[in-house]
Amino acid sequence: MPNTLVKSSAESAFLDLHKKLLERGRPALAELQEIALRRFDSLRFPHSKHEMYTYVNTKELAATSFGLPDDAANVSEDFVSRHIYPGCEHQCLVFVDGTFDRGLSRFEGMRADIAPLSEADRELKNYLSETAANENDVFASLSTAFCGDGIIFKVDDNTQISDTLQVLFVSTGRAAAPVMHAPRLVWQLGKLSEVKVIEKFVGRDGGYFINSVQDWLLAEGAGVSFTQVQADVFDSWHFSKTRVHLNRDAKFYSTNASSGTQLARHHYEVWLKEKGSELKLNGISVLDGKEQVHNFVRIHHAAPQCVSRQHFKNIVNGAARSSFDGTVIVNREAQLTTSDQLVNNLMLSDNCHTNNKPNLMILADDVKCTHGVTVGQIDEDQWFYLQTRGLSAKAAKELLTRSFAQSIIQTIEFPAVVEELSGSLLQKLEATDA
């Protein structure tokens, strides 16, 4: 524990909580945690004009007094199986309150090495330490400072895993005294390897702060299909940071579907490091009541002939809030870059709110980059057209709302997820009066 920390009460509370963590015994990743804690101290919680948190009010979150999750949280197999998608029953990794639960996980025969993060080799340890020391996001620092022993999922060169893997993050929650936990995952994909992953985040009760960090390290020619379903309970905070490193010709296709919480924020940081790498980053959020989802994206094009495509859509109803703050940085060396960034917002009520800041920083001179944002309501012409075919105003509005989401949902290659999202995620909007 660094003794140089002099902080406000908000930071102090988390440092005190860390002391409690140490009282439970030396953490598996003690050194890494210490680096992260120091970084946390220097970054501090964001003030209202912080450039990374312009649209996200974290004041209440920082001021909340969190406890540590119980060591022996009990989650039934029945609860877990309800959230495992068909086809993933034999390939699922389950985290309970941030800790990998081997007993609830199933991965026998899987052609991957799954190991505790504390057993990382020197190269990976150096990467993790360096990343923690240079972390730019205070909540990601906080996550690393509190992470248990996360896991490394390693796929060897030339290994394509055809079965879809599911990772389930269960938060048990404690409404009376909220808990914070910090799952940690590192994905190492060898040359020409492939993996398909669905992650689902669920809560049993409210009163938790899930603050996850993951790193995706893709070697030459590796390919990832990554789907995240954020389905936490409303009375929770959900923060995530996803770091992606793409080497030559590597491909990372990601879709996030979020139903929001009282405060949810996804931070993506992607480096297209070598020629020919490709990123697809899609997101859909469907928000009602006071739900919030904020996306913060930084994409670094560091090499020529790379492609990044982003498409985010938000359906915002009630008094919900969404935001998108995304920057694509095209370095001088990154000639022949192709980059798109599009955000569409469908606003369904007078009190909902969205903020969008698409941004391009281009230093190369031969690139094709576009970016744009739309903010609109139900298209009156489409609405009328459907009614002239006998659909009620309400049914037509629902259909159009669904159709708005479909272009993102349809990019998900797992039918079970598509079906679930088409039903449950949009179901909450069906009650809306037309």
């Binding site: 298209d379 012409d381 489409q382 009328f384 057209y385 459907l386 009614q387 002239t388 075919r389 006998g390 659909l391 009620s392 105003a393 049914a395 259909l399 159009l400 669904r402 159709s403 708005f404 989401a405 479909q406 272009s407 349809q410």
Partner: protein, 248 residues
């Protein structure tokens, strides 16, 4: 079936229709022709229930019911179909699913059970074959990325599925090449019977070579200035609208 009496209508405060009267009986085809800006599309929009068009005076009865008191959904369910001049693209809504929803909306209103999806697929295939539409249009989203001609065919497909009592086809011929025009016209003709009626809104006589109207009306400055039979359309084609409009 349809009685329009002294219809006056405004859009954004401008009077577009200035007293139209028209009676359409079951089994009849009426062609409404006229130059640009004469009010043809406004008439179609009003009949379909577009909220932006304000009826200032007059009356419209459809099967003796006051049409102006019905919203677009009710009009459709009671048997009115509007074939749009510019069919709207609706990305994300599957064409076949949408057609089934529309079909079922009518069945539910008539107190019938919803159709079995497989039975509907059969019905849809049959109608698509009639219109020489490829099966891929089932999978595509409603009018999304369709060419002008494909959109118009899709309108007639909807008409074929919904079997309206009264169809109003607003410039269905525009954007169609000759082969597509013939196919669409054959499709429309095959849907005709003594119980339904058709209002064709068009600039040109060429559609009327394929779908033979019983009556032709010329609209000018929001009024019907001349009515006649098919011969009137041929006369218009050779002499132009000036022939009628300068007389009035």
């Amino acid at each position: 079936m349809l009685e329009i009496k002294n219809l006056h209508a405004r859009v954004d405060g401008n009077e577009i229709l200035e007293g139209i009267s028209l009676t359409v009986k079951a089994g009849e085809i009426h062609a409404v022709m006229g130059p640009n800006g004469s009010g043809k599309s406004t008439l179609a929009k009003i009949l379909s229930g577009h909220p932006s068009y304000e009826v200032a005076d007059g009356q419209i009865l459809f099967e003796k019911n006051n049409l102006l008191e019905m919203d677009a959904e009710e009009r459709s369910l009671s048997g009115i179909f509007m074939g749009f001049q510019y069919p709207v693209e609706v990305p994300g809504v599957n064409n076949a699913e949408f057609l089934r929803m529309a079909f079922n909306a009518r069945r539910v209103r008539d107190g019938e059970e919803e159709i079995d999806p497989l039975d509907f697929d059969e019905l849809l295939s049959e109608k698509m074959k009639m219109l020489k539409m490829e099966n891929k249009y089932k999978e595509r989203n409603l009018n999304d990325g369709f060419s002008g001609g494909e959109k118009k065919k899709n309108e007639i497909l909807q008409m074929a599925i919904l079997k309206p009592k009264l169809a109003i086809l607003d410039e269905t011929d525009s954007g169609l090449d000759i082969d597509a025009l013939r196919t669409v016209a054959e499709g429309v003709n095959s849907l005709r019977n003594e119980k339904n009626a058709l209002i064709l809104i068009t600039h040109y006589q060429r559609l009327l070579d394929y779908i033979k109207p019983d009556f032709v009306h010329v609209l000018h400055k929001g009024k019907i200035v001349k009515s006649g039979d098919k011969a009137l359309a041929i006369e218009l084609e050779s002499q132009g609208y000036d022939w009628v409009t300068t007389e009035n």
